[in-house]
Amino acid sequence: MTVAWTEMTDEQLIHELQEGRREALDVIVDRYSRQLNSFIYRIVGDAATAEDLLQETFIRLWTNRHSYREIAKFSTWLYTVAGNLAKSELRRTRIRHFFSLSSGGERSVDGEDERTFELPDENADPEGDFERRNIRKRVNEEIRKLPVLFREVIILRDIQELSYEEIGSILKIPLGTVKSRVNRARQRLQQKLQDLR
Protein backbone atom coordinates (compact mmCIF):
# COMPACT_ATOMS: atom_id res chain seq x y z
CA MET A 1 0.00 0.00 0.00
CA THR A 2 1.49 3.34 -1.02
CA VAL A 3 0.85 6.57 0.80
CA ALA A 4 0.93 9.99 -0.80
CA TRP A 5 3.26 12.47 0.85
CA THR A 6 0.41 14.66 2.04
CA GLU A 7 -1.29 11.71 3.74
CA MET A 8 1.72 10.67 5.77
CA THR A 9 1.70 11.11 9.51
CA ASP A 10 4.19 13.45 11.12
CA GLU A 11 6.25 10.48 12.27
CA GLN A 12 6.44 9.07 8.76
CA LEU A 13 7.43 12.46 7.42
CA ILE A 14 10.19 12.92 9.97
CA HIS A 15 11.53 9.49 9.06
CA GLU A 16 11.65 10.53 5.42
CA LEU A 17 13.18 13.84 6.41
CA GLN A 18 15.93 11.99 8.24
CA GLU A 19 16.52 10.04 5.04
CA GLY A 20 17.24 13.39 3.41
CA ARG A 21 14.05 13.78 1.37
CA ARG A 22 13.13 17.39 0.75
CA GLU A 23 9.61 16.43 -0.30
CA ALA A 24 8.92 15.58 3.33
CA LEU A 25 10.02 19.05 4.38
CA ASP A 26 7.71 20.62 1.80
CA VAL A 27 4.75 18.78 3.30
CA ILE A 28 5.75 19.75 6.83
CA VAL A 29 6.03 23.39 5.78
CA ASP A 30 2.56 23.27 4.24
CA ARG A 31 1.15 21.56 7.30
CA TYR A 32 2.63 23.81 9.98
CA SER A 33 3.67 27.16 8.52
CA ARG A 34 0.36 28.89 9.19
CA GLN A 35 0.01 28.00 12.84
CA LEU A 36 3.70 28.52 13.58
CA ASN A 37 3.68 31.87 11.82
CA SER A 38 0.66 32.91 13.90
CA PHE A 39 2.35 31.79 17.08
CA ILE A 40 5.63 33.58 16.36
CA TYR A 41 3.87 36.71 15.14
CA ARG A 42 1.85 37.05 18.32
CA ILE A 43 4.98 36.73 20.39
CA VAL A 44 7.18 39.19 18.49
CA GLY A 45 4.52 41.51 17.09
CA ASP A 46 6.01 42.08 13.65
CA ALA A 47 5.06 40.20 10.48
CA ALA A 48 8.42 40.44 8.70
CA THR A 49 10.34 39.32 11.77
CA ALA A 50 7.89 36.49 12.31
CA GLU A 51 8.47 35.22 8.81
CA ASP A 52 12.24 35.37 9.22
CA LEU A 53 11.97 33.38 12.42
CA LEU A 54 9.59 30.93 10.77
CA GLN A 55 12.13 30.38 8.03
CA GLU A 56 14.83 29.84 10.63
CA THR A 57 12.60 27.29 12.40
CA PHE A 58 12.34 25.16 9.27
CA ILE A 59 16.04 25.58 8.48
CA ARG A 60 16.85 24.26 11.93
CA LEU A 61 14.41 21.43 11.45
CA TRP A 62 16.26 20.45 8.28
CA THR A 63 19.79 20.83 9.63
CA ASN A 64 19.00 19.12 12.95
CA ARG A 65 16.63 16.49 11.64
CA HIS A 66 18.78 13.64 12.91
CA SER A 67 18.56 14.83 16.49
CA TYR A 68 14.78 14.32 16.66
CA ARG A 69 13.77 11.37 18.79
CA GLU A 70 10.21 10.17 19.19
CA ILE A 71 10.03 11.12 22.82
CA ALA A 72 7.61 13.97 22.29
CA LYS A 73 5.23 14.88 19.50
CA PHE A 74 6.83 16.30 16.41
CA SER A 75 4.66 19.42 16.62
CA THR A 76 5.92 19.95 20.17
CA TRP A 77 9.46 20.01 18.82
CA LEU A 78 8.54 22.56 16.15
CA TYR A 79 6.76 24.82 18.61
CA THR A 80 9.69 24.60 21.01
CA VAL A 81 12.17 25.72 18.36
CA ALA A 82 9.85 28.48 17.14
CA GLY A 83 9.11 29.68 20.66
CA ASN A 84 12.78 29.81 21.62
CA LEU A 85 13.62 31.78 18.49
CA ALA A 86 10.78 34.20 19.16
CA LYS A 87 11.79 34.80 22.74
CA SER A 88 15.44 35.27 21.77
CA GLU A 89 14.34 37.87 19.27
CA LEU A 90 12.31 39.64 21.94
CA ARG A 91 15.33 39.81 24.19
CA ARG A 92 17.44 41.22 21.36
CA THR A 93 14.73 43.78 20.57
CA ARG A 94 14.57 44.93 24.17
CA ILE A 95 18.34 45.33 24.31
CA ARG A 96 18.34 47.29 21.03
CA HIS A 97 15.59 49.59 22.28
CA PHE A 98 17.35 50.11 25.57
CA PHE A 99 20.46 51.39 23.81
CA SER A 100 18.66 53.15 20.99
CA LEU A 101 18.76 56.96 21.14
CA SER A 102 15.80 57.35 18.88
CA SER A 103 13.63 54.54 20.09
CA GLY A 104 10.18 54.61 18.57
CA GLY A 105 8.94 51.86 20.86
CA GLU A 106 7.84 48.43 19.74
CA ARG A 107 5.74 48.08 16.68
CA SER A 108 2.17 47.47 17.55
CA VAL A 109 0.32 44.37 16.67
CA ASP A 110 -2.96 45.05 15.00
CA GLY A 111 -5.46 43.57 12.71
CA GLU A 112 -4.70 46.32 10.23
CA ASP A 113 -1.22 45.10 9.37
CA GLU A 114 -0.80 45.49 5.62
CA ARG A 115 0.62 42.01 5.52
CA THR A 116 -2.56 40.39 6.72
CA PHE A 117 -3.23 37.67 4.19
CA GLU A 118 -6.97 37.29 4.32
CA LEU A 119 -8.85 36.95 1.06
CA PRO A 120 -11.56 39.60 0.53
CA ASP A 121 -15.10 38.32 0.93
CA GLU A 122 -17.40 39.50 -1.82
CA ASN A 123 -20.41 39.21 0.49
CA ALA A 124 -18.72 41.16 3.28
CA ASP A 125 -20.58 43.57 5.47
CA PRO A 126 -18.27 46.61 5.52
CA GLU A 127 -19.49 48.07 8.80
CA GLY A 128 -19.54 44.75 10.55
CA ASP A 129 -16.11 43.97 9.15
CA PHE A 130 -14.78 47.29 10.40
CA GLU A 131 -16.08 46.58 13.88
CA ARG A 132 -14.73 43.06 13.87
CA ARG A 133 -11.33 44.28 12.75
CA ASN A 134 -11.28 46.85 15.52
CA ILE A 135 -12.16 44.19 18.06
CA ARG A 136 -9.42 41.89 16.77
CA LYS A 137 -7.01 44.81 16.90
CA ARG A 138 -7.84 45.43 20.54
CA VAL A 139 -7.54 41.78 21.46
CA ASN A 140 -4.19 41.50 19.69
CA GLU A 141 -2.95 44.63 21.42
CA GLU A 142 -3.94 43.40 24.86
CA ILE A 143 -2.35 40.02 24.23
CA ARG A 144 0.75 41.84 23.09
CA LYS A 145 0.87 43.80 26.33
CA LEU A 146 0.84 40.69 28.49
CA PRO A 147 4.16 39.64 30.03
CA VAL A 148 5.81 37.03 27.81
CA LEU A 149 5.19 34.27 30.36
CA PHE A 150 1.43 34.86 30.10
CA ARG A 151 1.44 35.78 26.44
CA GLU A 152 2.93 32.52 25.24
CA VAL A 153 0.56 30.30 27.25
CA ILE A 154 -2.55 32.20 26.22
CA ILE A 155 -1.52 32.01 22.57
CA LEU A 156 -0.80 28.29 22.76
CA ARG A 157 -3.93 27.47 24.74
CA ASP A 158 -6.65 29.84 23.55
CA ILE A 159 -5.54 30.56 19.99
CA GLN A 160 -3.52 27.53 18.92
CA GLU A 161 -5.73 25.27 21.10
CA LEU A 162 -2.95 23.01 22.27
CA SER A 163 -3.47 20.82 25.31
CA TYR A 164 -2.00 21.69 28.69
CA GLU A 165 0.31 18.69 28.41
CA GLU A 166 1.66 19.85 25.06
CA ILE A 167 2.16 23.37 26.35
CA GLY A 168 4.05 21.99 29.33
CA SER A 169 6.31 20.01 26.98
CA ILE A 170 6.93 22.99 24.71
CA LEU A 171 7.70 25.44 27.49
CA LYS A 172 9.29 22.82 29.75
CA ILE A 173 7.17 23.78 32.74
CA PRO A 174 4.98 21.63 34.98
CA LEU A 175 1.31 21.12 34.21
CA GLY A 176 0.25 23.04 37.28
CA THR A 177 2.31 26.04 36.20
CA VAL A 178 0.70 25.96 32.76
CA LYS A 179 -2.79 26.00 34.24
CA SER A 180 -1.92 28.72 36.69
CA ARG A 181 -0.41 30.97 34.01
CA VAL A 182 -3.34 30.38 31.66
CA ASN A 183 -5.82 31.34 34.39
CA ARG A 184 -3.91 34.46 35.31
CA ALA A 185 -3.47 35.46 31.69
CA ARG A 186 -7.19 35.05 31.09
CA GLN A 187 -8.06 37.10 34.16
CA ARG A 188 -5.85 39.93 32.94
CA LEU A 189 -7.31 39.80 29.45
CA GLN A 190 -10.86 39.69 30.78
CA GLN A 191 -10.20 42.81 32.84
CA LYS A 192 -8.69 44.67 29.90
CA LEU A 193 -11.36 43.61 27.45
CA GLN A 194 -14.45 43.86 29.64
CA ASP A 195 -15.68 46.84 27.63
CA LEU A 196 -15.85 44.66 24.55
CA ARG A 197 -18.80 42.56 25.79
Partner: protein, 171 residues
Protein backbone atom coordinates in the same frame (compact mmCIF):
# COMPACT_ATOMS: atom_id res chain seq x y z
CA UNK B 1 -24.82 21.47 45.04
CA UNK B 2 -21.21 22.58 44.53
CA UNK B 3 -19.23 25.56 45.81
CA UNK B 4 -17.90 28.46 43.76
CA UNK B 5 -14.41 27.21 44.47
CA UNK B 6 -15.27 23.81 42.97
CA UNK B 7 -16.90 25.55 40.02
CA UNK B 8 -13.75 27.52 39.19
CA UNK B 9 -11.56 24.47 39.73
CA UNK B 10 -13.63 22.32 37.35
CA UNK B 11 -14.39 25.09 34.90
CA UNK B 12 -11.56 24.31 32.52
CA UNK B 13 -12.37 20.60 32.50
CA UNK B 14 -15.98 21.47 31.77
CA UNK B 15 -14.90 23.68 28.91
CA UNK B 16 -12.70 20.94 27.53
CA UNK B 17 -15.49 18.37 27.75
CA UNK B 18 -13.60 16.26 30.26
CA UNK B 19 -16.15 16.10 33.07
CA UNK B 20 -18.37 13.13 33.75
CA UNK B 21 -22.04 13.69 32.84
CA UNK B 22 -22.91 13.91 36.54
CA UNK B 23 -20.27 16.54 37.28
CA UNK B 24 -21.24 18.49 34.18
CA UNK B 25 -24.83 18.62 35.37
CA UNK B 26 -23.70 19.99 38.73
CA UNK B 27 -21.48 22.62 37.08
CA UNK B 28 -24.25 23.76 34.73
CA UNK B 29 -26.74 23.99 37.57
CA UNK B 30 -24.35 26.09 39.64
CA UNK B 31 -23.64 28.37 36.68
CA UNK B 32 -27.39 29.02 36.40
CA UNK B 33 -27.97 29.65 40.10
CA UNK B 34 -24.86 31.56 41.27
CA UNK B 35 -24.57 35.19 40.03
CA UNK B 36 -20.83 35.30 40.70
CA UNK B 37 -20.10 32.12 38.77
CA UNK B 38 -22.55 33.11 36.09
CA UNK B 39 -20.54 36.30 35.54
CA UNK B 40 -17.34 34.25 35.62
CA UNK B 41 -18.75 31.90 33.00
CA UNK B 42 -19.94 34.72 30.76
CA UNK B 43 -16.62 36.55 30.94
CA UNK B 44 -14.74 33.37 30.13
CA UNK B 45 -17.10 32.57 27.28
CA UNK B 46 -16.72 36.07 25.83
CA UNK B 47 -12.94 35.93 26.03
CA UNK B 48 -13.01 32.57 24.28
CA UNK B 49 -15.09 34.07 21.48
CA UNK B 50 -12.64 36.92 21.11
CA UNK B 51 -9.50 34.78 21.03
CA UNK B 52 -11.03 32.25 18.67
CA UNK B 53 -11.99 35.07 16.31
CA UNK B 54 -8.33 35.93 15.78
CA UNK B 55 -7.29 34.63 12.38
CA UNK B 56 -4.28 32.45 11.80
CA UNK B 57 -1.66 34.33 9.85
CA UNK B 58 -0.41 32.91 6.60
CA UNK B 59 3.19 33.58 5.68
CA UNK B 60 3.68 35.65 2.53
CA UNK B 61 3.41 34.17 -0.94
CA UNK B 62 7.20 34.41 -1.34
CA UNK B 63 7.94 32.56 1.87
CA UNK B 64 8.32 29.07 0.37
CA UNK B 65 10.46 30.41 -2.44
CA UNK B 66 12.83 32.13 0.02
CA UNK B 67 12.99 29.04 2.21
CA UNK B 68 13.79 26.86 -0.77
CA UNK B 69 16.51 29.26 -1.91
CA UNK B 70 18.06 29.22 1.53
CA UNK B 71 17.99 25.42 1.71
CA UNK B 72 19.64 25.24 -1.70
CA UNK B 73 22.36 27.61 -0.48
CA UNK B 74 22.94 25.38 2.52
CA UNK B 75 23.18 22.32 0.30
CA UNK B 76 25.78 23.99 -1.93
CA UNK B 77 28.10 24.77 0.96
CA UNK B 78 30.92 22.23 0.99
CA UNK B 79 30.87 19.86 3.92
CA UNK B 80 34.24 20.24 5.55
CA UNK B 81 35.83 17.83 7.96
CA UNK B 82 35.98 18.94 11.53
CA UNK B 83 38.39 17.89 14.19
CA UNK B 84 38.46 18.55 17.91
CA UNK B 85 38.51 22.26 18.59
CA UNK B 86 36.40 22.92 15.52
CA UNK B 87 39.26 24.15 13.34
CA UNK B 88 39.74 22.68 9.89
CA UNK B 89 42.64 20.45 8.91
CA UNK B 90 43.96 20.16 5.41
CA UNK B 91 43.42 16.66 4.07
CA UNK B 92 47.14 15.92 3.89
CA UNK B 93 47.50 16.78 7.57
CA UNK B 94 44.63 14.47 8.52
CA UNK B 95 46.15 11.69 6.40
CA UNK B 96 49.55 12.26 7.93
CA UNK B 97 48.13 12.22 11.44
CA UNK B 98 46.35 8.97 10.67
CA UNK B 99 49.45 7.31 9.31
CA UNK B 100 51.56 8.49 12.21
CA UNK B 101 49.01 7.22 14.73
CA UNK B 102 48.85 3.89 12.98
CA UNK B 103 52.61 3.54 13.03
CA UNK B 104 52.77 4.46 16.68
CA UNK B 105 50.07 1.96 17.49
CA UNK B 106 51.85 -0.73 15.51
CA UNK B 107 55.06 -0.01 17.36
CA UNK B 108 53.32 -0.36 20.70
CA UNK B 109 51.83 -3.66 19.68
CA UNK B 110 55.12 -5.02 18.37
CA UNK B 111 56.95 -4.05 21.53
CA UNK B 112 54.33 -5.50 23.79
CA UNK B 113 53.71 -8.68 21.82
CA UNK B 114 54.77 -11.89 23.50
CA UNK B 115 53.04 -15.18 24.11
CA UNK B 116 51.43 -13.84 27.27
CA UNK B 117 50.29 -10.61 25.61
CA UNK B 118 48.77 -11.90 22.40
CA UNK B 119 45.25 -11.76 23.72
CA UNK B 120 45.65 -8.20 24.97
CA UNK B 121 43.57 -5.94 22.80
CA UNK B 122 45.82 -2.93 23.29
CA UNK B 123 44.14 0.39 22.79
CA UNK B 124 40.40 0.42 22.78
CA UNK B 125 38.35 3.38 21.77
CA UNK B 126 34.75 3.79 22.76
CA UNK B 127 33.17 0.47 21.83
CA UNK B 128 36.44 -1.47 22.18
CA UNK B 129 37.14 -1.51 18.47
CA UNK B 130 40.57 -0.50 17.30
CA UNK B 131 40.32 2.29 14.76
CA UNK B 132 41.93 1.44 11.46
CA UNK B 133 43.93 3.99 9.55
CA UNK B 134 41.05 4.29 7.12
CA UNK B 135 38.50 4.92 9.85
CA UNK B 136 40.67 7.63 11.30
CA UNK B 137 40.73 9.47 7.98
CA UNK B 138 37.93 11.98 7.65
CA UNK B 139 36.19 11.53 4.35
CA UNK B 140 34.77 14.44 2.45
CA UNK B 141 31.18 14.22 1.30
CA UNK B 142 30.75 14.46 -2.45
CA UNK B 143 28.34 17.34 -3.02
CA UNK B 144 29.04 17.79 -6.69
CA UNK B 145 25.47 16.92 -7.70
CA UNK B 146 23.69 19.00 -5.10
CA UNK B 147 21.68 21.84 -6.61
CA UNK B 148 22.24 20.49 -10.13
CA UNK B 149 19.07 21.39 -11.99
CA UNK B 150 19.59 18.66 -14.55
CA UNK B 151 19.19 15.98 -11.92
CA UNK B 152 15.80 14.40 -12.38
CA UNK B 153 13.81 13.83 -9.22
CA UNK B 154 11.40 10.92 -9.65
CA UNK B 155 8.01 10.93 -8.04
CA UNK B 156 8.00 8.95 -4.88
CA UNK B 157 5.52 7.61 -2.45
CA UNK B 158 5.89 5.47 0.61
CA UNK B 159 5.12 1.79 0.86
CA UNK B 160 3.75 1.07 4.34
CA UNK B 161 4.22 -2.68 4.03
CA UNK B 162 7.85 -2.71 3.12
CA UNK B 163 8.63 0.71 4.68
CA UNK B 164 10.39 1.69 1.52
CA UNK B 165 10.15 4.26 -1.19
CA UNK B 166 8.15 3.42 -4.29
CA UNK B 167 9.39 5.33 -7.29
CA UNK B 168 6.75 5.86 -9.91
CA UNK B 169 7.70 6.76 -13.44
CA UNK B 170 8.01 10.42 -14.22
CA UNK B 171 10.30 11.25 -17.04
Amino acid sequence: MITCERFEKDFESWRSGKLTPEDETLIRQHARECPHCQAFNQAAFRLRELTLSLPQREPSAAFKYRLSARLNDLALQPVKPLRAGGRLLPRWAALGAGVASGLALGLVLVLSTGPENQSTPGLSIGTGQLASNEEMLIKDVDTSDVGNDSVKIPERSYDLETHSQVVSGRK
